[in-house]
């Protein structure tokens, strides 16, 4: 197979990825105080099932998944000391605080899994119990995704190793060092999803990772798997665009990859699945890129979930200068962190301690001059200038007509805008406003329907009472005809 469709727009950017990759992945010591956010990046909080005072070991289940939140397990052994609202990468959220006893004992009963002996559904069940979630950033429960894929009988598994955003290189480091785990994870996911074949997609700016994967594929000798090298282009790693580039099939913006017969997983997630079947230990660590001009020795580090970001930076030699902004994720789609106390979550792929020189200089916002540069780079072929006009006017119909729902918030339009308009932020805000309005409308519709039913019921009751009263009166008069006076 060759690359079938040339993606529209996108940006060729300087990756800034070489410095962290100069050294192998660094292990950060387990934290003394582990802050386990109940929302690991998917936007929904898992339900804590331990009380303060509970003794936990590494791998003890401490929170039950629900909706888009996967199960959570203790990353350290020690005592749960509290469940409070603390700053997290998403702003603020409920967190379990676990005070480590430093012994790092594992939960008893942790054993390798004979995954080849299991059928798909039971393998998915085991993966769900391991708390595996998308390590690409969305932290969506992997088992739910695989179950959905199985239900839709998808034929293709895509392992996303594109990692197109500048600065982030945790997947690159992982593929270089643990290619065999990625390939094993791919086989586990093929078995779980029931897909007939799998593609590992990597961008061509990662030759070392490609070579390592190629070698691992040869060792495994699994003919169902192949490596596909794509041009390095931001934001090709976005799920829908990657699938379009690989297969030529377009995922509808209100649909999911299984609609076109594909299930997409991050390479890091695959490696974590492989770890789970070989060791039996739930997902309690992840690799994070710590980089930017503000860090003394940029590196990829492997840290327990719940490790404060400040300890990651300390492991990389500490701050070189005070960074202008501390960003979770890359410079284009990341979110600014309020402090370096926030903990590592399953969705945190990069900590960028950015100095002024690292970020594109942005002047004050100027009026739109309708140059159309944003439309040229938009990877989903929207017209950001029109969307911007509609967002400013809060024109719901125009926003819908110009496809606000299809925006993937990649930030390409911001990057090229000569008037320095924060377009993506505007679109995000407009979307949030629409979501709240929609929720409000649904609520009022329901209230109206309930009020109508209430009125009907009261009318029916009154009618029944009147009839009962008349019957009684008629009986009292000995079934005689009603008199003239009534």
């Amino acid at each position: 197979m060759s690359s079938r469709s040339v993606p529209h727009g996108g940006l060729r950017l300087d990756g800034h990825k070489s410095r962290p990759l100069e050294q192998p992945v660094l292990a950060v010591p387990p934290p003394r105080t582990c802050i386990l956010a109940l929302d690991q990046g998917s936007g929904e909080e898992a339900e804590a099932i331990v009380e303060p005072g509970t003794r936990v070991r590494v791998g003890t289940r401490v929170a039950a998944g629900r909706g888009t939140a996967a199960d959570l397990h203790a990353p350290v052994s020690g005592t749960v000391t509290g469940a409070t609202r603390l700053p997290t990468a998403a702003g603020e959220g409920r967190c379990l605080v676990i005070e480590s006893d430093g012994r790092d004992e594992r939960e008893p009963g942790v054993a390798p899994l004979d995954w080849q002996a299991l059928d798909g559904p039971s393998l998915i069940e085991r993966l769900a119990a391991s708390g595996l979630a998308g390590l690409g950033g969305a932290a969506f429960p992997t088992a739910s995704k695989l179950a959905m894929a199985r239900a839709e009988a998808v034929e293709l598994l895509v392992l996303n190793g594109a990692e197109c955003e500048p600065w982030i290189c945790c997947d690159d480091a992982l593929m270089r060092e643990r290619a065999a785990e990625v390939v094993l994870g791919a086989r586990v996911m093929l078995a779980a999803s029931g897909a007939a074949h799998g593609v590992i997609a990597v961008e061509d700016d990662k030759p070392e990772a490609c070579a390592a994967l190629e070698a691992a594929l040869v060792v495994t000798g699994d003919a169902r798997l192949e490596l596909r090298v794509l041009p390095a282009l931001f934001p090709l790693g976005a799920e829908g665009l990657l699938i379009a580039a690989l297969t030529g099939r377009e995922v509808p913006h209100d649909g999911l990859p299984p609609d076109v017969g594909v299930v997409c997983q991050n390479v890091g997630t695959a490696a974590a699945a492989a770890r789970f079947v070989t060791e039996g230990l739930p997902a309690v660590t992840r690799i994070v890129t710590v980089t930017g001009g503000g860090v003394r020795r940029p590196a990829n580090v492997e840290a327990r979930l719940g490790t404060p970001v400040v300890e990651l930076i300390a492991a990389c030699g500490g701050y070189r200068t005070t960074p202008d902004r501390l960003i979770a994720g890359g410079a284009l789609t990341g979110r600014t962190l309020a402090s370096d106390d926030v903990p590592v979550t399953k969705g945190l792929n990069c900590v960028l301690a950015a100095t002024a020189a690292d970020l594109p200089a942005r002047g004050p916002e100027m009026p739109c001059i309708r140059c159309g540069d944003c439309a040229d780079v938009c990877p989903v072929q929207l017209l950001p200038q029109q969307l911007h006009r509609a967002a400013r006017a809060d024109d719901v119909a125009a926003l819908a007509r110009h496809g606000l729902a299809a925006c993937i918030e990649c930030g390409c339009c911001d990057y090229v805008c000569p008037s320095a308009i924060p377009l993506t932020a505007r679109f995000r805000a407009a979307r949030e406003r629409q979501r709240l309005l929609g929720a409000e409308r649904r609520r009022t519709e329901e209230a109206r329907a309930r009020f109508e039913r209430h009125c009907e019921r009261l009318a029916a009751q009154a009618e029944e009472e009147r009839r009962a009263f008349e019957d009684a009166r008629r009986r009292a008069r000995g079934d005689g005809p009603p008199s003239g006076t009534g």
Binding site: D39, G41, S42, G43, E44, E45, G67, T68, G93, G136, G137, A138, A238, E239, T333, I408, E409, E432, R435, L436, A439, R443, T444, E445, E446, A447, R448, R450, F451, R453, H454, C455, R457, L458
Partner: protein, 182 residues
């Protein structure tokens, strides 16, 4: 006007004016706007609290009164300024502030029953316009928060004053369950 070649043009223009004016006049007199559709559209803009602060028994009767021109658009405190503005845009009238005679404008609240003090009298059940209170005589009652419109109509019937208005938790929940795109 002395040029006779202008006469046909003037004649045609006059005839057209008379004919079109007559047609428009006839249409205005005989084709009434669909008032029921208008009521529906007004009702869709009202907040459906069914609180009766506008002195109509519910949102729809108020919508009918607006459509018939018997009530102004400034009587809905729960809807606040946003509702008045939406109504003004729909009816092509100048927007105006909500008339304070009909109650103060305040953030949306929901009713909460202090279950320890509730005596199970069931008086609040029929008062609730959206049937958001669950209970039965001599059993404890509770408010289904997701259904409560904050109309406060359950407060007066309660003999032990165990119902209070509180800010809803649902707004916080809705914001935190926003699914990210990637």
């Amino acid at each position: 006007m002395s040029d006779p070649t202008l006469l046909p043009a003037v004649g045609v223009a006059t005839a057209l004016g008379v004919a079109l004016g007559g047609a428009l006049g006839w249409l205005a007199a005989h084709v009434r706007p669909d008032r029921r559709a208008l009521v529906e559209r007004i009702d869709a803009l009202l907040p459906q609290t069914q609180c009766g602060q506008c002195r109509f028994p519910g949102c729809r009767p108020y919508a009918e009164a607006i459509a018939h021109g018997t009530a102004d658009i400034d009587r809905c405190p729960p809807g606040g300024e946003a509702t008045v503005r939406a109504l003004a845009a729909l009816l092509d009238r100048p927007p105006r502030p909500v008339d304070p005679d009909y109650g103060p404008t305040k953030p949306p609240l929901v009713a909460v029953i202090d279950e320890a003090r509730c005596i199970g009298c069931a008086l609040c059940l029929p008062a609730c316009p959206v049937d958001a209170i669950v209970g039965a005589p001599r059993f404890m009652h509770t408010v289904i928060e997701a259904q409560c419109t904050g109309c406060e109509l359950c407060l007066p019937p309660c003999p032990v004053d165990c119902i209070a208005m509180a800010s809803p938790a649902r707004a916080v929940r809705a914001a935190s369950s926003a699914a990210p795109d990637r």
